[in-house]
């Protein structure tokens, strides 16, 4: 892609040469190597549990640094938000101060216990046994597979795009996506709602993209197929460590170059407006980025979307012991401190060094090239920093492939289609399902759907809305019935979906040409665009300025608890199996 805008930085950093490609190959090589190590580690044990759960042997580091799956968005979407809106984004991500604690302390121990009691290694399997009802398993399984597929397909595209741009001379700066005329505005909108950022293509795609897609897919499916769960966790751990090293190098170089943090803020104010240092954030298009209502919503979204996401529940189930969980709380808390606050500081400094970027998504790649320039091994260091999002994307994709194919194999194939399958058959089914997931992802991304990002947001937050309350009920409330679980999951998700769809409709109506009577009646009912949050087609409908996820939690709780209370209580001896112990006096 030609870089057709005037260079903004003083140096020509549009072509980093081979360093990025080299760093990417290093990531790929390390991942494949970890995959083969993982295969050795799980060889002797029972296949399914070893492959999908690493024989329940995760240690503290592996659990802590991979449980809240980071994705490419941490290095792309989030920095773009800081660059665009300023200090307020630290409040947007502020609930990460308690995410580590809540990730393990709310349901961690209990899920680990229940998954062992039921001898299950997928979430639907656990729920199915807990309620002795195949419907609970089937519904949760279908929801998890669907949600994760959308998110995963989007990550494939991001991975392929990064590979494409890594070719020397292709203008690596557009790490995120192809340039569009209104990229700054669009990027803002699309990244904000979900840090798992990726965008829909609206330009013809060239051959490099296909090469990137194939290389990416073969690598990720390959090492996941070889090493299973452990391979996925270990590569995730590897990229998390690379990430913290990259962020530390960046902040240590960038802040002094901007003249210190206070000076950086003052320069940023001078270059934009005083809004960049206050809430609701700087905006060039008159939209309030983080109103108090939305700030409150974020303190729910990150917490309750996090600990019930299938990826993190599976990791907790794989933990070796409760001691490992305790250590993970501490490790992850420290890790988050080292990632998010320094990233914000770096992007504030970027307003001094790169005051007017057209594409805020490029802030980290550009900064990393700018600050390492002139250092010994500078190109190599910036290559590593640039490759970090790629590592993050590989790690999350491999985790998604595992959860999806474990769902297909265990929850669908073994449970419903072929209960008497031998180990060799299960192994073959696993290979077939993983390769097919890869193939489908490639096919889906040959011509990436336009509105993929909407589905990604819908899946991530919708998953939180669907599972938070039911999982809590399954863990702690004896009276929970299978019908209550189904009601909690389905109502939570449908309510979320309904409010999102209402937002899309409202947005469409606001942009519709004058004279459309349907559009006018939509606006009459839903009200005009509230001008808050992020711009873009897929803004949800905010009731009282609060995100739909918060309302969905409330509605899901009412539906789940209410339905449980009006249905027949579960059999006491069944519940007792999970709640009681007989003590001999």
């Amino acid at each position: 892609m030609a870089n057709n805008q005037p260079m903004l930085a003083a140096t020509d950093i549009s072509n980093p040469g081979y360093s990025v490609l080299f760093a990417l190959l290093l990531f790929i090589g390390a991942s494949v190597w970890l995959g083969t190590l993982a295969q050795k580690a799980m060889e002797k044990k029972e296949f399914l549990k070893g492959f999908f759960l690493g024989n329940r042997g995760l240690g503290a580091w592996a659990l802590a640094l991979t449980a809240t799956v980071q994705s490419g968005g941490t290095f792309m979407g989030f920095p773009a938000l800081v660059y665009s809106h300023g200090w307020i984004v630290l409040l947007w991500i502020g609930s990460y101060m308690v995410v580590p604690l809540l990730s393990f302390a709310v349901v961690g121990k209990r899920l680990a216990q229940l998954s062992r009691m039921t001898d299950s290694f997928t979430v639907p399997d656990l729920l199915r046994e807990r309620f002795a009802d195949p419907r609970v398993g089937l519904v949760s399984s279908i929801m998890i597979i669907t949600f994760m597929s959308f998110t995963m397909f989007a990550q494939f595209k991001a991975g392929a795009t990064i590979m494409k741009h890594a070719w020397p001379g292709s203008g690596v700066l557009a790490l995120s996506e192809d340039y569009e005329p209104t990229a700054a505005e669009k990027a803002e909108s699309k990244n904000a709602t979900d840090v798992n950022s990726n965008k829909s293509a609206s330009k013809p795609i060239d051959r490099k993209y296909y090469v990137g897609l194939i290389v990416f897919t073969v690598t990720v499916v390959g090492y996941t197929l070889i090493g299973g769960f452990l391979a996925s966790v270990w590569t995730d751990l590897f990229q998390s460590v690379m990430m913290v090293i990259g962020v530390t190098i960046l902040v240590c170089l960038a802040v002094p170059m901007a003249g210190g943090l206070e000076q950086a803020t003052k320069t940023a104010i001078a270059n934009t407006s005083s809004d960049i240092a206050f809430g609701p954030g700087y905006s060039t298009i008159g939209r309030e980025f983080l109103t108090p209502g939305l700030a409150l919503s974020m303190f729910f979204i990150w917490i309750f979307g996090g600990f019930v996401s299938p990826a993190s529940m599976v990791r907790v189930m794989a933990a070796e012991s409760t001691e490992v969980m305790r250590k993970s709380i501490c490790l992850l808390s420290c890790y988050n401190c080292l990632i998010y606050i320094p990233l914000v500081m770096t992007c504030i400094a970027a307003r001094t060094m790169l005051p007017h970027l057209d594409k805020p998504d490029e802030v980290i790649p550009r900064m990393s090239m700018l600050v390492t320039e002139g250092l010994p091994l500078g190109a190599f260091i910036s290559g590593l920093i640039l490759a970090a999002p790629f590592g993050a994307i590989m790690a999350s994709v491999s985790c998604f492939i595992l959860v999806i194919s474990s769902g297909l194999v265990q929850d669908i194939y073994v449970r419903f289609l072929h209960p008497a399958a031998t180990e060799a058959q299960v192994r073959r089914a696993t290979n077939v399902s993983m390769v097919s997931v890869g193939l489908i992802a490639v096919l889906a991304n040959l011509d990436p759907p336009q509105y993929l990002q909407a589905l990604v947001v819908l899946s991530a937050s919708g998953g939180g809305a669907a599972f938070t309350i039911p999982v809590l009920m399954a863990c702690y409330w004896r009276r929970t019935t299978a019908a209550g679980m189904l009601a909690g999951m389905l109502v939570g998700f449908c309510f979320y979906f309904g409010l999102s769809a209402a937002g899309w409709l409202q947005n469409w109506a606001a942009a519709a040409p004058e004279g459309s009577s349907f559009a006018r009646s939509v606006i009459d009912v839903l009200g005009p665009d509230p001008k808050i949050g992020v711009p873009g087609l897929f803004r949800p409908y905010y009731i009282f300025g609060i995100d739909p996820m918060v309302w969905s939690l409330v509605v899901s709780a009412i539906a789940g608890i209410g339905t449980s209370l009006v249905t027949k209580p579960p059999a006491e001896e069944h519940v007792s199996r999970f709640f009681d112990v007989a003590v001999v006096k």
Binding site: V98, A105, R110, Q113, G279, T322, S333, C337, K585
Partner: protein, 90 residues
């Protein structure tokens, strides 16, 4: 004569879950409350800096973030109880 009791892990897990939710609530109330008070709708000239951070960012987010990290570590090492996890399938 065996007596039926609640699983020990369930008991400690409930206590820890409630405490963790309490910490989340406290952090949310403090952090949002402070930032709404001091970070929104303020005269730009009144902005001061603490260690380079705008004052409301420092007291409203950075400090509670540090406190939460310490509290989480205390929680992990002194409050949360280790329990035996059953063998698979029991």
């Amino acid at each position: 004569m065996p007596d039926i009791q609640e699983l020990p892990l369930l008991k400690s897990a409930k206590r820890e879950a409630l405490t963790a939710l309490g910490i989340w609530l406290a952090a949310t109330i403090y952090s949002l409350g402070y930032c709404f008070q001091n970070g929104y709708g303020r005269a730009p000239e009144s902005l001061t800096y603490v260690l380079g951070f705008p004052d409301w960012v420092f007291w409203g987010i950075v400090v509670p973030w540090g406190v939460c990290t310490i509290v989480a570590s205390i929680f992990a090492f002194w409050f949360m109880k280790d329990e035996d996890l059953p063998e698979s399938g029991q």
